[in-house]
């Protein structure tokens, strides 16, 4: 593909996803929501994300479109900015983080759960997947490896939010013991 053709397709994707974001904003601006604009917006966005697979490569095309769509949507958001008079000390309706009583040991345990315990637990899960799920060994290993950061990130989000810290401890330790135990029992074949 020539550079000009690539640029043209990229420009079309940017314009298409920008138009889709604009339609979604039209629907959002209407007091009761506007289903026509909303449906048209989502449909156009879907088309702009899928169709590039045919022109730019089956995996590469959608990822190019996804990247461009983010920029297009942010441009649409930026175009609707509103300037306000500067104020200070204004109370906000936004939710405030929970205030919870904590002790040192609870704080330490919470961060241990979010850090090393969550990591070991996530690794147990990922390795268990790689060992037990059927398929090509490379695929099992890579998907199992990708499970680790996702599960660890999820565990981090959960343990830092959940005030029932012993419940989180039990679940994470249990998952780690089960994951590693089941993996060692079977071995990688």
């Amino acid at each position: 593909m020539t550079d000009l053709a690539f640029l043209t397709i990229s420009a079309l994707i940017l314009a298409g996803t920008g138009a889709a974001a604009w339609m979604l904003r039209r629907s959002w601006q209407a007091k009761a929501g506007n289903p026509q604009w909303r449906l048209a917006g989502w449909a156009l966005l879907g088309a702009c994300l899928i169709l590039p697979a045919f022109a730019l490569g089956e995996a590469r095309g959608p990822f190019i479109a996804l990247s461009l769509a983010s920029v297009a949507a942010l441009l649409v958001v930026a175009s609707g900015y509103r300037l306000r008079e500067r104020k200070s000390g204004r109370s906000s309706l936004a939710p405030e983080p929970a205030e919870r009583l904590s002790t040192t040991w609870r704080g330490v345990l919470r961060w241990l759960l979010a850090g090393p315990v969550g990591m070991i637990s996530a690794m147990g899960l990922g390795i268990c997947y790689a060992v037990w799920v059927p398929g090509e060994p490379q695929t099992r290993l890579v998907v199992g490896g990708m499970i680790v950061p996702i599960a660890w990130g999820g565990a981090m989000a959960w343990t830092l939010a959940d005030s029932r810290i012993l419940r989180a401890t039990t679940v994470l330790v249990g998952v780690a013991i089960f994951g590693f135990g089941a993996s060692i029992m079977k071995g990688f074949t």
Binding site: M1, D3, F6, S10, R25, W28, Q29, A30, L56, G57, A59, R60, I64, L66, S67, L68, S70, V71, L74, V77, G80, Y81, R82, L83, R84, R86, K87, S88, G89, R90, A94, P95, E96, P97, A98, R100, A114, M123, G126, E136, P137, Q138, T139, L141, V142, V143, M146, V148, P149, G153, G154, A157, T159, L160, A161, S163, S183, I184, G187, F188
Partner: protein, 505 residues
Amino acid sequence: MTASKSAALPKKRKPLMSRIPADFVRAVLKGHSGLGLAFAAVIYIVCLSGTLSVFVDEFERWEDANAPVVESVSPEAVQSAYESAVARAGSGLEHVFITMPAGDLPRLRIQTDAEEDRIWFADTQGELVTESHGQWSTFIVALHENLHLPRTWGMFLVGLTGVALLSSLISGILAHPRIFRDAFHLRLGGSRRLQEADLHNRIGVWGLPFHVILSLSGAFLGLTTIIVGVLGMAVFEGDTAKIYALFQPSPPIDNPAAADPLDLLPMFAQLPDSGGHLTSIFMEHPTEQGGAALFNIRYDGALAAADSLAFDRSGELYYAKRAEDFTLGESILGSLGQLHFGWFGGGVIKIVYGLLGLGLTYLAAGGVNIWLARKRDQGRPAERWESIWDAFVWGQPLALTAAALSTVAAPGLAIDLAVMVWLGISLGSLAAAAALPAPTISRLGRGASGALLLLLALVHILLASGPDAVSWTIDLVLALAGAVLVASVFPFRRGRHTKHLPIGG
């Protein structure tokens, strides 16, 4: 309204995110806030250096602007250039890495890994023309990948940062019940907290696919060593080589007896005419009898597909992995680096990644700004932390620009100089927070960063410019960025026009 009438009306269901209980949102927000504060600084550095690393090919062209531009090259020229580089490599040669000319980096680049690493650029005839001074590009990529810490620990810390970012994305979405209601709000001015929250949330939500791709791939790449180590211990009896062997060619049989440099020409002759283009050649022990060469061939339009062909000293093909035979896992693995750095769609996607990367960097900075603004709104301003955070945020552009300037002004010196400059200015900026209020630090940081960017462009033009248009483009971008930062120091009177909020808001 009577009871019967109200019962007859269809009950309007609340949007999905609005049905999340308020206590749950507040608890998740607490975790989001704590995690963000704990990792904000390192996320900021990793994202800022990552944004710059997207353009590493362009930076290589900038710092070696006099290197010959090579669009294509013959096998004979490659052989000649690499033999010349081997002759100059010195003792202890272990590997040679040849990067073939490509669209983003039209150079023939030969790197020798001996007691001292050296990089050369050759012309189309295979003559070595210039030695690379690629300190800045090496500096910025190493900062992104391991923060200039010992490699294993640094990569783990960066991987952990990726996990923290991924976790923040999860908790950020869960803590955002107005995600649809506020989807297009961008209220600037007014309350500082509202402005920062709007910017934080809009960038966070609309850039979410990019943020997920980046944090997931970054966490995976950073944690690979430890995941493979634990996997090896758990189910491979500690032998991690068995895991790597599933993805890479086995190394050649070791035979350290001295030999002439590997002859690549018979290997070139065996490369398939499959429509791909040769991107690189990696040679192991090229001056030993046990030497071997791995050829990598990529295909246009493919995200991951690359053929890998390995030849031994006699020119016999002993390993071949064709793109068409990739498993799903190999395809995912092969695409991660491309997706992480935005190297899959030419200059357009690099610019898009640059913009979205700056957005993600802002997300890290803005998260702390929201926390600081909230404390101020509550009547408990954390002035010391405001100074420290502004010193950190604006100290990084200053420190990175100074590091770049040191590599341009003193190209022959080791990369350690750039690291020391970066570290010294980073620490100096933080020290300034002890004496100066946040607004002063912010103004000083912007002004000094801008002035130094202008100086960097000027010094580069005077000392190291060349015919490469990309090099001039980078100088122009540096100068423009510098001018914008300097201009931002001076107050301007904002017009009092007010746009109306959309009805949906």
